[in-house]
Symmetry: C2
Subunit: 319 residues, 2 copies
Amino acid sequence: MTSTRPPYYLDCDTGIDDALAIAYLLAADDIDIVGIGSVSGNVSAEMGAVNTLDLIALAGRSDIPVAVGAHDPQGGVFAGGAPHVHGVNGIGEVALEHSPVGAIAESAAELIVRLAREHEGELRVIAIGPLTNIAAALRLEPALTTLVKELTVMGGAAAVPGNITPVAEANIANDADAAAEVFAADWFITMVPLDVTMSNVFLDEHRDALIDSGRPVAVALGHMLDHYFEFYVDVYGHRASALHDPLAVGVALGDLPVMSAPVVRVVVDDTSGPGRGQTICDLRGYLNGFPEQSRAHARVVLSLKEDFAPRLLERVLLV
Amino acid sequence: MTSTRPPYYLDCDTGIDDALAIAYLLAADDIDIVGIGSVSGNVSAEMGAVNTLDLIALAGRSDIPVAVGAHDPQGGVFAGGAPHVHGVNGIGEVALEHSPVGAIAESAAELIVRLAREHEGELRVIAIGPLTNIAAALRLEPALTTLVKELTVMGGAAAVPGNITPVAEANIANDADAAAEVFAADWFITMVPLDVTMSNVFLDEHRDALIDSGRPVAVALGHMLDHYFEFYVDVYGHRASALHDPLAVGVALGDLPVMSAPVVRVVVDDTSGPGRGQTICDLRGYLNGFPEQSRAHARVVLSLKEDFAPRLLERVLLV
């Protein structure tokens, strides 16, 4: 008998905020997590898979298949990730016990295609790393655009600056070619950009609550956050962390009351110019309530009605 | 004996908001307007010069030399301007009496260079059209960057959408190559982008006050605004006009109390990609009070402390 709970696939580059996102996803008891794939971004795809496996093992969820995805971006070579943000091991130098379970033999792109066929018209895909695997899956199976029910992408910047160039956000810029393909394909995308992920933050009070809980996953996440907080002092002027990846998962789960999320055209700049990696969102209707656009194919989440941090904390403490 | 009043050169593509800008400039009695040059943008350079000559004649200021500037952008051909915004004649189909005085023989670029040499270290340049003439003057005289005291540019979009593409503003995009040269040159630029010019507007109350004044220049401007207001209904949802060009003149004259104007790096996208014509402003310090940046060379005016419309109205009624 097939489950009637909606099936979710997560594509990630675990990463501290990816770890928070995985925990948020694990806390949802009304969905099926049918697979997780890794991709190079914050760390290598290989390290991202290990971090993912170790984290779900800590949560007692080693039943979820994890596939290793693309090591290199489409047109280039993996540049080494962001150890200054996420630590050398990607999870803030926290040493998780290694999972006895390894990655599956399929690549992440193969896993996506298989799951999309098995759950035809039902699979929800959440991509919180560079879009290399998603683009590769599109090439393996062009019908992916109809097989997949929903695609939610953490990435890009719409009306705020980027985080690795003045206009480019890291997930998109780390594989701008793949992102351009994914955004040019004929499917509807929910995009969760820096606009909303930078304005929702965890502070020391949230970190302390995680650690004080004594719950293994929460404690591990709390210690990871120390590293992340230090990086963000230069960004916010104080210890804090943006909530990029968990926020995208919250949006994908339909948990978050959205304030502003216009449906607009989005193109990814894949030139070699100064705009490379920018998600060019057509927000020209901003003064007039965003009138309907022809060929609009992306819902760009700009703001939420409520602060995300309390909800995230509450959910992670359930794991 | 040389005047001790600061000398100003205006580069424009007259245009309805250019006409407002010229009127604002004419109202300043503590400056010398030493020259005006035209450039193709809202209208052709030739039509822009005629509109400028006719307007200053109406104000009794035919003593100001007007030079015709570049007809075509650097790498291309003038595309015909924006008759849907500014009317076929560029000034909302208002028929001004033709000036008995014609343009001078020099090109606008030549005029800029001559004035910059004559007023070495003192000339204030205000560019409220595409930057074709300014780039041409830079090529004629590379020392222009030090001869000119201040360069104020109306153009670009920093943290708001563009007005002719999702990211590009018309003045910059109409000659992205010239703009890229001007922003790459070694001088300090004050940039007045859509961020501030779209959020300061004239409404019917201002138009009516212009017309009710009975003053010839004000009445002409009031009638021009009718055309402009109709274009902007789709943008604002009601009759209004952005105050692009006069606002840049107000900033250049030092008249306007500025709320936010970070000094940052700015690069113009001159690729042929989807970002062409974007002014890429490095606003990554926005969450932390814009810490000082190395190689920052542009002051980007994002907001004012006071609504500009009352001041603009008051000044224009003096002409």
